[in-house]
Symmetry: C2
Subunit: 261 residues, 2 copies
């Protein structure tokens, strides 16, 4: 646990370095829906919230996006916000923006300092990744480079390569989320996470999705995953567990495991 | 989960086939201590209790052992009781009986039908294993053939061989408990359990011990382990979790995982 790197925001670890961080997604379609969601989620005290802007009806309206991001930041108080516009190819909603448009939007979000972290997919064109990375760096925003596979779980070596690629491309955090077809796939994801923790100098987060992979959301922290997504009001990916349940299971597992450290 | 075999006692699955079974050990040194332990543990409703008779001060007194076993059975009502006299070599207390004496004692326990299940180590002399097996079969007692390694975790192939050996030697249940040195070892135990579930025609139980392995006590059921040990009043092996915590964690994990099935 000691060698698990923490996610930093403006030079400090989120939630004073709590491990793992619990993040709840916001998936409302309108400003009102999103603010209602924030109000419902806040009492559950997530460590981080992720605005899944690909669910936002006005995603193609730059001003509306920035304005809403700023309203979310105001509403959540000091809780760090991840701005994510997940591509349809990696499990997001279908939207009017192309990948280059999303890269531009993320650059604008960074420029307006309307989020603490931004997430961009590693599979995007190198030029787009660089553009987002540069905007993030210039504005002190933490960059998560992510990879999602909703169809299968690659082998452990391929998964480790993906973690490494996220670091090489300049990510501050490497995220890998994959779908298991078997329980062996679930173990493969945990094993690759363990290898990546040793191999990378940046923090990482990982999960095996779906019901079959749900245990990784509860035990992934032991293998080096520094953040786990939980349902506040609505889930954004299959297998997410209600935040109250997740916190309870984490506390029990950490009590048992913690005697080691 | 559907293909996880259940442990049978006199022709019926324990606790109507609940999966996984939660078993609490009894480790008292005297009859009074043991009966106090039973009284403390019963309200926590374990599915099975294991009398670790190697902790019993009068273990070399055959009459006292049988009498105490019968008193435990009376005291627990209908809850199945495992009679175990763990060898010092595999993590038990040092006692005056040699392995052949333990085999003889287990035969007597079976003959007196003073337990529902007996546990004997696979590593014992083949003749002793056969003797216990025959006594168990003749008296309708369920035989657990077990292997414990408190020093390390063998490779997945070696672990699978051990599960297979327990079946080949005539066990009704195969038990493997090993100590991890790394988190990779924990994954190896889970992977071998999954392989054994597919390869064996008898039910099995497994765990990775110590704090590092404690998560296997919470998630091993998903990989095919049909019973998990939890602390009722006192633990009998490192890494055991209080029964209330274990039940809570199991319920959360099964709710998340269960959507699959």
């Amino acid at each position: 646990m000691n060698d698990t790197k923490r996610i930093m925001v403006r030079g400090a670890p989120i939630a004073s370095g709590r491990h793992p961080l619990v993040c709840t997604p916001l998936v409302g379609g309108s400003v009102d829906d999103i603010l209602r969601e924030v109000a419902a989620v806040l009492p559950k005290r997530p460590d981080v919230v992720e605005w899944r802007a690909d669910y936002f009806g006005q995603i193609a309206d730059r001003e509306a996006v920035i304005d809403t991001a700023l309203r979310i930041r105001d509403a959540v108080g000091g809780i760090p916000v991840i701005f994510t516009c997940r591509s349809a190819r990696e499990g997001g909603q279908r939207i009017a923006l192309a990948a280059s448009g999303v890269a531009e939007l993320l650059g604008d979000v960074c420029g307006a300092r309307a989020a603490d972290l931004v997430d961009f997919e590693l599979a995007n064109a190198a030029g787009d990744v660089e553009r987002v990375r540069d905007a993030a760096r210039q504005n002190g925003v933490t960059l998560i480079l992510s990879h999602h596979d909703f169809a299968a779980t690659p082998g452990a070596e391929a998964l480790l390569d993906t973690f490494r690629a996220a670091e090489r491309a300049g990510g501050d955090v490497a995220k890998v989320a994959v779908m298991p077809r078997t329980l062996e796939d679930v173990l493969t994801l945990l094993s690759a996470t363990l290898a990546a923790r040793a191999a990378l100098s940046i923090p990482l987060l990982s999960m095996s999705m779906g019901p079959l992979g749900s245990i990784t959301r509860m035990v992934g922290w032991a293998f080096g995953s520094t953040l786990t997504f939980a349902v506040g009001q609505s889930s954004s990916a299959p297998g997410q567990i209600p935040i109250e349940d997740l916190r309870t299971a984490l506390a029990i597992a950490q009590r048992a495991f913690g005697a080691e450290r």
